[in-house]
Symmetry: C2
């Protein structure tokens, strides 16, 4: 394990706070896990022991995490603060007002919120400029995707520091420029989940059948490439041609299906040009081969897992 | 390679027909790839050579595929027919009328259509009872998910034979009971893609950022478990409790957001009960650990791929 100069205060010892602690400690940071309720810290410690053992982490990971019931001790001399308390606007705003006073100036303070918007959350804080949403994917020590959502007051330096910090601890980082409820990840998830629930309600398929369509179909591609690259690779001349051929079907399948048509030519050109900046059309067939290799390797991995779990269900080791 | 008793006529040598040929041959079936245009067959043969080599398949796979420009030769004595022609209702209906006459009775005829509904496609055919939609995921020799969609006339025996046939050649099979445009896979994909395009149009994120949210976030889970199992594992008491906590946020994020609320209590109970049939609440924490192990293994696999492609870009072997 690399050791870093970071000392991170994690505020709140619930599921997200615990998992953040593992992610930070696993990347070599010193962690102070704070919760006002002693019982929560004890439960967190138990969970941390089980998790670091189950995931074959070294003893060090656990030893880098200190437990604090006093906020002042937790934040003393830290380089970063990660807030992970319940999704209640008043609770969080009260906590931020306290952190505003307690945490040395210039130390960035990140919120894990998934449900609240930065313009509401950080409004009126004295040092609003150092506050930033850093929304993890659950659980962050397993799924390495952080959405950064600045408020109108967040300093550019705080944003660039956050990108280096989270990339440095092995997370993939996406920076959102316009705040929107659900950010990107939960909006995409909700779009698919809401459609899945409608298909169930309409009697088209059962939950386990829909799950199979995702885990044996869509998910195999999406583990390696996102929806835009998927469409880009599915047409000889990339996304622009794909959109020409399929936009009508996508509009037909859109339940929202409305005035605000996202398949307008301006938006299509914007996407096609953005893709061309990083993905050359000349290498499309090569990239398709790479995609296929990756999917086949993932299928092989899944087969091994299935065989292993079958053996363990049969009582073998 | 196992050898089977199957002989499959694949009608149409486009991208889907070619890929089906590999999937069938790779599972040990004899394949007759039919296309009326000689040039298409030549291009298909070239693609097949490249693909079977790139994916380290044995010579046998290629040798099991015969090329036919005469329909009668292609279907003579076959056990199954897989139609993969362009998505034009008239073209397909004309072809099916011919197959109706040419293919020995009781041989099942599957259509690869993704865009047409079985009740339109098979209406009025003499032997409509042996026709069935078997919609593959592109490309079927890589992504192993088939949606079966019967028409009102499809025989039960044809459906059960199709399930054994496709599972026998290594595909995962989902049977739809109500036809709906897009079936399940394309409806779920469209829900996510349409939302992704709206987020781009609204300036929230760029295409490559949305791709990253999927490939580093949502896709890591969905490679192993679908949306319902994901929600089920994210709450201590499973989906019912999850729905209680999050249904309001899902409804808020739903652009369709309407009269037909899929988060009604009846639908929630149906999903929760369906999940409980196969996934016991008692094993939820164990299944969460398994999910995490799988995701970590996938991340390791992706790291290896990235390192390998970086080396090959640097000119190493």
């Amino acid at each position: 394990m690399e050791s870093t100069q970071y000392t991170v205060a994690v505020i709140g010892a619930g599921l997200i706070g615990r998992s953040w602690s593992v992610a930070f400690a696993n990347a070599g940071a010193a962690v102070r896990l704070y919760d006002p309720v002693k019982k929560s810290l004890e439960q967190a410690e138990e969970w941390l022991k089980k998790t670091t053992t189950a995931q074959d982490m070294t003893e060090d990971v656990l030893s880098q995490i200190k437990f604090c019931t006093v906020l002042e001790h937790a934040v003393e001399g830290v380089s970063h603060v990660q807030e992970s308390t319940p999704e209640l606007l008043d609770v969080k705003r009260k906590l931020f007002a306290t952190l505003d006073q307690t945490v040395p100036p210039n130390v960035p303070i990140y919120s894990s919120t998934s449900a609240l918007l930065p313009s509401e959350l950080f409004k009126g804080l004295l040092s609003a400029s150092r506050f930033l949403i850093a929304h993890p994917t659950n659980p962050p020590h397993i799924v390495p995707l952080v959405e950064l959502v600045p408020s109108p007051w967040t300093q550019e330096g705080i944003i660039s520091d956050a990108i280096s910090f989270f990339e440095g601890i092995g997370q993939d980082v996406v920076l959102l420029r316009n705040e929107i409820p659900g950010f990107v990840l939960n909006r995409l998830q909700a779009a698919l989940v809401n459609e899945a629930l409608r298909l169930v309600a309409e009697g088209v398929a059962k939950p386990n059948e829909i799950d199979k369509v995702v885990s044996s179909g869509l998910g195999l591609r999406w583990a390696f490439i996102g929806p835009f690259e998927t469409m880009d690779l599915n047409s000889k001349y990339g996304f622009a041609e794909y959109a020409e051929r399929f936009k009508d079907s996508y509009i037909t399948l859109d339940r929202f299906n409305s005035k605000s048509n996202a398949w307008n030519s301006e938006n299509i050109s914007f996407v096609a040009e953005a893709l061309r900046e990083t993905n050359s059309l000349e290498t499309i067939s090569e990239r398709r081969t790479i995609r296929d290799h990756k999917i086949l390797a993932l299928r092989e991995l899944k087969k091994q897992f299935n065989a292993a779990y079958l053996r363990s269900e049969n009582g073998e080791k």
